[in-house]
Symmetry: C2
Subunit: 524 residues, 2 copies
C-alpha cells in the first residue's frame, strides 16, 4: 500500500517555471467514434439496429466502440409507448475491457478509492434527450442499464457516440510494417497505450489516477521519441515537476494539475532520480537549451539529496524504503535501489556533459564507479553467482544490478536465470518492472529471450482482445491486483507502453519502415 | 394497479386554449433555507458544527432543513488532508420524512417506477466545489453518504442550503388562531401541503408524479379558495385540461407539461366529471366569464359522454370500471360511481345556471332526480338499512350515495355506521376517500364525529413529526402502500390538504380569524 500523507504539506511553487509549463500545454486532438456493435443478452448485434431496441426496467445493452477511447460519451435517449410519466433512471458503466463489466463492482473493498469505478447514475426527467456527461472516461465499452422506468413507456438509444481525445499526433509516427503479426499487434498496442495516456500531461492511466507520475513519464517519453514525438507535452511535464516541489527541493512523485498545479506529498526516491534521465533525453531530442538551463539544478539536486543518504558508496537501507521499484510487499528493495542510484549517477554525468561541466561529469563517473564497487562487495555472492539484498534473492535485484553494471552482463544473465529458479522469491508485478527485466536481458545480448518474454508477457494481455496494455498483469492470475481488487485496475497504463520502443531500438530487422509524408514538424 | 396504455394515442390539442394556459403560468416564489441540525450516527448536532465534520469512506450525515421544501439543494464540499487524488463519489438521498431514509430502497419491487426514489449519485473530480443538482426534489431531510474517497483526504460540507419554491402566496391567507393546538397543527399542515403542491401547475405530489391530476385539482382548488386563492394557477389548470384532450373530447385524468403539454392516455370517468365542479367553483370565485365561455362546452361534454353510458338512470356496471373512487382492488365501484354521476349532474345544473340556460339546468335537475330514484331502487336495501353494490357493502358506496342524496342524510349516517361494522368490507385507502367520508358525516350533521375522525386520521399522520399530509395512510399499518412498496409513497400529497377547508367551512367556532394586512390583490 502506498499512501503518503504529510500533514500541513504545501508544495513550493515556482511561478516562472509554472508559466512555462502552462505555455507548453498541448492541443488535444478530438475524434468522433460510433459504436460498431452492441451486446444484448449474450448476442452481439450490429450497431445499426440499436435505435430499434426498446429497453424496459432492468434491461441492459453494452456498446462496443471498437477501440479504446479517452474522452466523452454522448447518448441520445428516445421514448416509445405512452408519454413519459416517470423519470428514466439509468446507469452507465464505462470499461476498457469487456471483462471489467463482469466483475461485481459492489464487492470492491480495496485500498484505492472506489470512486475510480467508472459507474454513473443519471435521472432523465424529460425524454427524448441527450445525455452528455461532463466527466471524461477511459473506455471501449459502455454498458447502459435501465434502473428505473415506468410501465407506460420504453426507452431507446437513438444515437451513441464518443468523442475521443489525445495530444498524441499519429501523423508523426513512421509507418512500420512488422513481418510477424503478433509483433505488429504488440507494437500497435504499445503506441495506442501511449497515445491514450498522452493528454494534457503524460498521464499514468486515463481510467485511474489520470495524473502525471515521474516513473511513468520516463518510459512514456522514451517511447514517444520513436513515435509521436510529443516534445511539448514532455517539456510541460518537466516544468510541472520542477515548478511545484517539496519545500526542501525534492521532486514529488506526481503532480496534480486540477484544480491547481500542486506537487503531491508523495516522494519516491527512484522517481525523483529519474528526472535526470528524462531531462537529458528531452534536451538531446529537442535541443532545448532553455529547459536545460532552467531545470538542471533541480535535476542535480535530486542526486545530491540522495547522496546525502549514502555512506561508503551505498544508499542507506532505510532510504531504500523510499524507492518504488515494483508493487511487491515482500520485496527487499535495498540492492535494487542501489542499482538505481548508480543509473542516476550515470544520468548526472550525462547532464553535466550537456552543460559542458566536464569536471563535475568526471566526479559523477568516479562516484558511480565507487558505488558499483561498494555494491558488488555488499550484494554479489560469487559462489552463488547472484546478488542478494539482505539475504533475499529477487529478480528485481538482479535486473537493476545488471543494468547498473554492478555485475557484468554475463554475470547478470546467469544471476537472472538462477534467481528465476529460486522458489518463493518475490515476483515481478507490473509491466513497469518487466520492462527493466527486458532491458537487462538485452544488455546481456539475449535478444531471443527478450523477444520471447515480450511475446509471453505483453502478448498475453492482448489475447482476450485488449487494445492497450495493462497497469498490472500476471498471466498466471489474470485478476490479481496491487490494490486489493481488480475493479480499479487500469487497463491502459503508460508504464506498459515500452515494447514499441524496444522493438524499434533493438529489433530493426523485425520490421520494414515505410516512407511516409510528414504533414508537419515535430511539436516543439 | 392503474396503468393505461393506448397504443398510438395522440392528444387533441387546442392551441388557443393552450396559449391561455401558458399566459396564466404563475410566478414561483423562492425562499432560501439553511439546515437547522444534522444527524451523525444517532445524534442530532447543531448545524453550525457541520463544516467542521470530516467525512471519510462510508460516512453519512443527514441534514434537517426544519420544514418540507420543494426545490433545489446546494452543497459546498470542502477537503481536509492531502490534495485530492481521487474523485469524491457521493450519494444524496432526499426525504420528506426521516422514516423514508430508514427504508431499504434497494429492495423496492413495486409497480410504480423506482426512478421516483429521490436518490442521486455524483462524482466530484475537483474539490472544493459546489454541488447544485438541476433536478427539483421534495424534502425536509437530505442524507449525504460518502461512497468513495481516497485515504489521503477527507470531505467537509462547508455550506448547505435549499431553495424552496411555491406559487402559493402566504400573504393572502387570513391568519386563523385555533383554540385547540392539534387543530392548529392540522390546519397548518393542510396549508403547507397545498402550498408545496402549488407549483407551475397544481401538482398531485412534488415527490412523485409531480403532475396535474383532475381529482386532486378539485380538492386543491377548494382549499385554495379559503387560503392562497391561487386563481391564476387554477385557471391555468382548467385550460390545460381542456387544451389537450382525448381525440373524442374526453378529458385526460392528468396532463403533462414537460417537455410539451400533453394529456395522458389515462381516462378516469369520475375525474373527467369533476371538471364541472372545478369550473363552476372557479367561475364563482374568480368571476372569470372568459373561462366560462371557453370551457363550458368541454365540461358539459364530459357529462354527455357519461350519460351515453347510462341506461334507465343508472351508469352501466362496465363503465363503473373507469372510475377511480379509491386505491382499492377489491372494491365494487358501481354504486359509488352512480353517486358521482349524480353529483356531476348537480354540477352540470349549476354550470347551466351560470350560463343562464335555465332550461338545460332544469333538465339536469330532473335527470339527477331520475338517477337518484334509479339508484335507490338498485342499491338501497331498506331491511338492511344500507346500500349494496352488486351485493358488496362498502363505506365508499354509503358515502357517495349519501352525498348524492340517494339516501337521506339520516339514512346515510345509519348506513355508514352499519357498513363500518361489516367485517372484511373494503377499507378506505386514501385521505382522498376519507375526505368524502368527512363530507358525508357533515352532511348528516355529525360534526363531532367528523372532527373526531379528522383528528384520528389526519392528526395521526403528524404524530411522527410530519409537516405535510400523506398520499396514502392507514394508521393501523403505517407502511402500507398502494404501489407495492412504501418507498415511492408521497408524503406531501395534494388530495390530503382538505382538512383546512373543512375546518374553515364547518367549524368557524373553533378558531379566531385575525385581521391581516393584505399586501396585494388575489392572483387573477
Amino acid at each position: 500500500m502506498l499512501v503518503s500523507i504529510i500533514p500541513g504539506f504545501v508544495p513550493q511553487n515556482d511561478p516562472e517555471l509554472l508559466e512555462k509549463a502552462k505555455a507548453s500545454r498541448p492541443k488535444l486532438n478530438k475524434m468522433q467514434l460510433a459504436p460498431l456493435r452492441y451486446l444484448s443478452g449474450d448476442t452481439w448485434e450490429a450497431a445499426e439496429g440499436l435505435k430499434e431496441k426498446e429497453l424496459g426496467l432492468g434491461d441492459q445493452v453494452t456498446l462496443d466502440f471498437g477501440r479504446h477511447a479517452v474522452g466523452h460519451v454522448s447518448l441520445d435517449f428516445g421514448i416509445r409507448g405512452s408519454h413519459q410519466d416517470a423519470p428514466l433512471w439509468v446507469r452507465l458503466e464505462m470499461a476498457e475491457r469487456l471483462e471489467e463489466l463482469e466483475e461485481r463492482w459492489d464487492t470492491y473493498r480495496g485500498w484505492i478509492s472506489p470512486s475510480w469505478l467508472q459507474r454513473e447514475e443519471y435521472h432523465l426527467d424529460s425524454l427524448p434527450c441527450t445525455l452528455s456527461p461532463e466527466r471524461r472516461f477511459a473506455f471501449r465499452y459502455v454498458r447502459i442499464t435501465v434502473l428505473g422506468v415506468s410501465r407506460k413507456f420504453r426507452v431507446t438509444v437513438n444515437k451513441a457516440e464518443a468523442i475521443a481525445q489525445s495530444a498524441a499526433d499519429w501523423d508523426r509516427v513512421p509507418e512500420r510494417r512488422f513481418f510477424e503479426k503478433d509483433l505488429q499487434r504488440i507494437y500497435d498496442a504499445s503506441l495506442m497505450t501511449l497515445s491514450e495516456c498522452t493528454q494534457d500531461v503524460m498521464e499514468d492511466g486515463p481510467k485511474r489516477d489520470r495524473r502525471l507520475w515521474l516513473g511513468d513519464l520516463k518510459l512514456q517519453a522514451e517511447t514517444s521519441y520513436i513515435s509521436f514525438q510529443s516534445l511539448s507535452v514532455i517539456r510541460r511535464c518537466l516544468y510541472l515537476f520542477a515548478g511545484s516541489r517539496f519545500p526542501d527541493g525534492r521532486l514529488s512523485a506526481n503532480v496534480f494539475t486540477d484544480p491547481e498545479i500542486a506537487g503531491d506529498d508523495t516522494y519516491l526516491m527512484d522517481y525523483a532520480l529519474f528526472f535526470l534521465d528524462v531531462l537529458c533525453d528531452y534536451v538531446e531530442h529537442a535541443g532545448d537549451r532553455e529547459a536545460l538551463n532552467d531545470l538542471h539544478e533541480t535535476a542535480l539536486f535530486q542526486m545530491e539529496y540522495v547522496l546525502e543518504r549514502c555512506q561508503n558508496g551505498l544508499i542507506s537501507p532505510e532510504s531504500a524504503g523510499d524507492f518504488f521499484i515494483d508493487w511487491s510487499d515482500d520485496l527487499d528493495k535495498w540492492a535494487a535501489a542501489q542499482g538505481i542510484v548508480i543509473l542516476a549517477l550515470n544520468a548526472a554525468e550525462r547532464l553535466c556533459g550537456l552543460l559542458g561541466d566536464t569536471e563535475r561529469a568526471g566526479d559523477c563517473r568516479k562516484k558511480a564507479e565507487e558505488f558499483r564497487r561498494a555494491a558488488r562487495a555488499e550484494f554479489y555472492d560469487p559462489e552463488k553467482g547472484l546478488c542478494l539484498s539482505r539475504g533475499q534473492v529477487s529478480l528485481h535485484t538482479q535486473v537493476f544490478l545488471t543494468l547498473s553494471g554492478v555485475m557484468t552482463p554475463e554475470e547478470g544473465i546467469l544471476a537472472i536465470r538462477k534467481a528465476e529458479e529460486v522458489p518463493g522469491s518475490p515476483g515481478m508485478m507490473t509491466p513497469y518492472m518487466h520492462h527493466y527485466y527486458l532491458l537487462a536481458l538485452l544488455m546481456a545480448g539475449e535478444k531471443d529471450a527478450a523477444l520471447h518474454h515480450m511475446r509471453l508477457y505483453w502478448g498475453s494481455m492482448l489475447e482476450g482482445g485488449a487494445d492497450t496494455f495493462f497497469e498490472a498483469w500476471d498471466p498466471e492470475d489474470p485478476t490479481s491486483s496491487p490494490y486489493g481488487g481488480s475493479q480499479v485496475n487500469s487497463y491502459c497504463h503508460a508504464w506498459s507502453c515500452t515494447p514499441a520502443r524496444i522493438l524499434v531500438e533493438y529489433y530493426p530487422e523485425q520490421y520494414l519502415e515505410m516512407p511516409v509524408e510528414k504533414t508537419q514538424e515535430a511539436d516543439t
